[in-house]
Symmetry: C2
Subunit: 439 residues, 2 copies
């Protein structure tokens, strides 16, 4: 006999067991429903692209992490490492077939050969959504309110969207005459939550001097109601008029739609990337601050400048589904069990094969999810199977029941049975049983 | 200004525009629902695996087509080229966490560097489903009846599942004392539909002689009712008792469940692979015979023998979603339009930003899919946008309507308007409008 191959997976990659995958599909379904209800449409792009396309914008870090190789045709290709770069390429390629503003969502896998010790995966699912082709405040607000709606749909009631506007920050740096090193300042401020105010103060002092550092700290440390913070911002950065007007428009809309305390103006949010030019935001779960943001994004000036001369301003966000699902599991958001069937039709007699499938079909037509046990094993083995898979009801039918066009229904949790149920009434008995258990 | 990068995709790879992707997600949703109703649970596996895992079973052809490279850690890795090999590895790895029989489905991308001139894609979506851990006739029948249910769910009423049993074929070859070259004979017979009876006859004569070739031709050319074919098979291959009993069980169950003419016993079905050991089947659309099988599979003796000593017999099938979707488009199965919104809330006055989102939310809460136009552009531009995206209704609200807590609803197809609708009643007006248009 040949030597067995060890059935291992690559480091940073994962199999999904049925319960995990059913939960992932359920969450993705809820998100797709929310996006669809807001007029967002789905798209897809290839997992493999020309490396030139993917690295057009990439920095040194991305270069090292990307899965890149030469294909059979000698092409330099790579697996996508996010959904943003492919989306920019997509917009440039299909602009003439689309319409603006274009609202899209894309939920799909991306790949990075990251250090797995940081708890990151090398294969992960991103969920991106953007409105492209508009500068309007309405679009900024829409992204925020849609994130709010998405978390509500997932049963998460403690999500808080923290937002700021890069224009305020840039106006301050400009007033302080910090002409170079803006990226570096952003990166330092972005660490506020992680390393604390004192450490940020010291790093900023080294970068732009103590006095300028204090002014930056004063801005990013503002606290209070949204209205109070806007007031203080206006005092600290009087030159940020346009950005402040945009913030006020978003804050007013949130008030009118009753988003209340769920949209938090928070000048410490900067999003480390130079890419963003307008509002920026991160989403935190109040019960789990330590996991960081579960949905982040912002407004940008030009999505696809590498591939087209057409200027495409937009606003969008991204959910890392793996982190979100870990968070949902941790805060114990209830999820309906692993996609298992409602009832198992047991196999007492192999010659009744067709009848068992007929019973299953009858129950399915009444809206139940029904599985047929294929082998005439001992009943104890069939019950054990149902228990392991989490199926709550068994439908039992021998030759006698068959003659009577009846079945016995057994509640596998309470171990009580209802015998001699006419086949036409079996679905109702099972439904009652499911509701009793759920109560 | 830097030179633009051409936004091209790799040969054999595709972007999906919103309408295409919405349709793909719709079909996948219907399939997942059908599978779930039969107790099948979803799983997922990594797109990238150790090459050793993927090529364990691969022949020379697969070797050449696989996307294979060395990763940053020096590992020999490859992108999966089907969902069967990863499933075998998965079962071996997780057997202790699962239960048998295990019913799973997996809808995901796979990759082959095939010659695109044959109309094949290098990135494609497979949809696989299997029942593993049972030899029972019930499982064979279940796969067939579930395929029937899946096509019904997709609105396809002319799908015919042609099936045979490899045991009959093997028993005939054995009786003819064709000890070697079974694979080659299978491959020739598999071409019957393509090259015709005469060409197959000639090839078989060269392989196993004229007399044996005639016997093979006699078997694979049988026609008639399922019952007649079983009778003739029994005469032609009297040594195939067990296989014939299995065929009879499946045919009887199909009769009892009214699958009638949709399950066709067809001895010309062999499935070129040596892998299968029991029933084998292919699914044809009566209106589109030229595209070949849209769902194929069969029973195998042992799924994961390369990775575990545990014997895992099973039965399963695979749908190539790309071919299926091309077929659905060709036969004109009606599909609900590209996931666009039901209504567009127009932007007349930017200061009403929040109110427009409030209108949208009110309509969404009544179950409608609603999009908000973000910019106060000319109405003609906003109407043109709605038309391009296929949104049938517009909701119009200026300061006056707002004061009256009312909106105007416009049917963008008939260009008729209903003015002064109270906001609370707007959803009903839109729903009426949608139904009129659909009728």
């Amino acid at each position: 006999m040949a030597k067995l191959i060890e059935p291992r997976v690559l480091k940073g990659f994962r199999d999904f067991l049925p319960e995990q995958e059913a939960e992932r599909l359920r969450i993705m379904g809820l998100l797709a429903e929310t996006f669809g209800a807001h007029g967002f449409v789905p798209i897809d792009t290839p997992i493999l692209e020309y490396t030139e396309i993917l690295l057009g914008k990439g920095g040194g870090e991305t270069d090292k992490q990307i899965y890149r190789f030469e294909d059979q045709g000698g092409r330099d290709v790579a697996m996508r490492y996010d959904l943003t770069v492919p989306f920019a390429r997509y917009m440039a390629a299909h602009l003439h077939e689309l319409y603006l503003p274009f609202r899209r969502f894309h939920m799909a896998k991306a790949f990075r050969g990251e250090n797995t010790q940081r708890g990151r995966y090398r294969e992960f699912v991103q969920c991106d959504f953007d409105i492209v082709g508009t500068d309007a405040a309405s679009a900024d607000f829409e992204i925020v309110t849609m994130i709010d709606a998405a978390f509500a749909a997932m049963g998460v009631n403690d999500a808080r969207i923290h937002f700021a506007h890069r224009g305020v920050f840039n106006a301050l740096l400009s007033a302080l005459e910090v002409d170079s090193g803006t990226d570096e300042v952003l990166r330092v401020v972005d660490k506020l939550r992680k390393i604390g105010g004192q450490a940020v103060r010291e790093e900023l002092e080294g970068l732009i001097g103590a006095q300028a550092g204090e002014r930056v700290i004063a801005l990013v440390s503002l606290e209070g109601t949204n209205a109070q913070i806007v007031e203080r911002m206006r005092e600290l950065v009087p030159t940020a008029g346009e950005a402040l007007a945009r913030i006020e428009a978003v804050v007013a809309a949130a008030l009118e739609l009753g988003l209340g305390g769920r949209l938090v103006l928070d000048p410490s949010i900067t999003r480390g990337l130079d890419y963003y030019t307008g509002i920026v935001f991160e989403t935190f779960l109040t019960g789990l601050p330590e996991i960081g943001s579960v949905c982040s994004g912002g407004r940008y000036d030009d999505l696809a400048g590498l591939y087209t001369k057409e200027r495409l301003p937009g606003v969008g966000a991204s959910i890392g589904l793996d982190r979100l699902m870990a968070a949902l599991a941790e805060i114990g958001v209830p999820s309906p069990g692993g996609g298992a069937a409602d009832a198992l039709v047991l196999c007492l007699d192999e010659s009744l094969l067709a009848h068992y499938h007929l019973i299953a079909r009858t129950l399915r037509e009444a809206g139940l999810r029904v599985e047929v046990y294929p082998d005439p094993k001992k009943l104890a083995a069939q019950f054990a199977f149902a228990e392991k898979k989490g199926i709550p009801a068994a439908v039992i039918c021998g030759p006698q029941e068959r003659s009577a066009q009846a079945v016995n229904v057994r509640d596998l949790r309470s171990r009580s049975s209802t015998d001699g149920v006419p086949l036409a009434g079996a679905a109702e008995v099972i439904r009652d049983l499911l509701e009793t258990g759920a109560g």
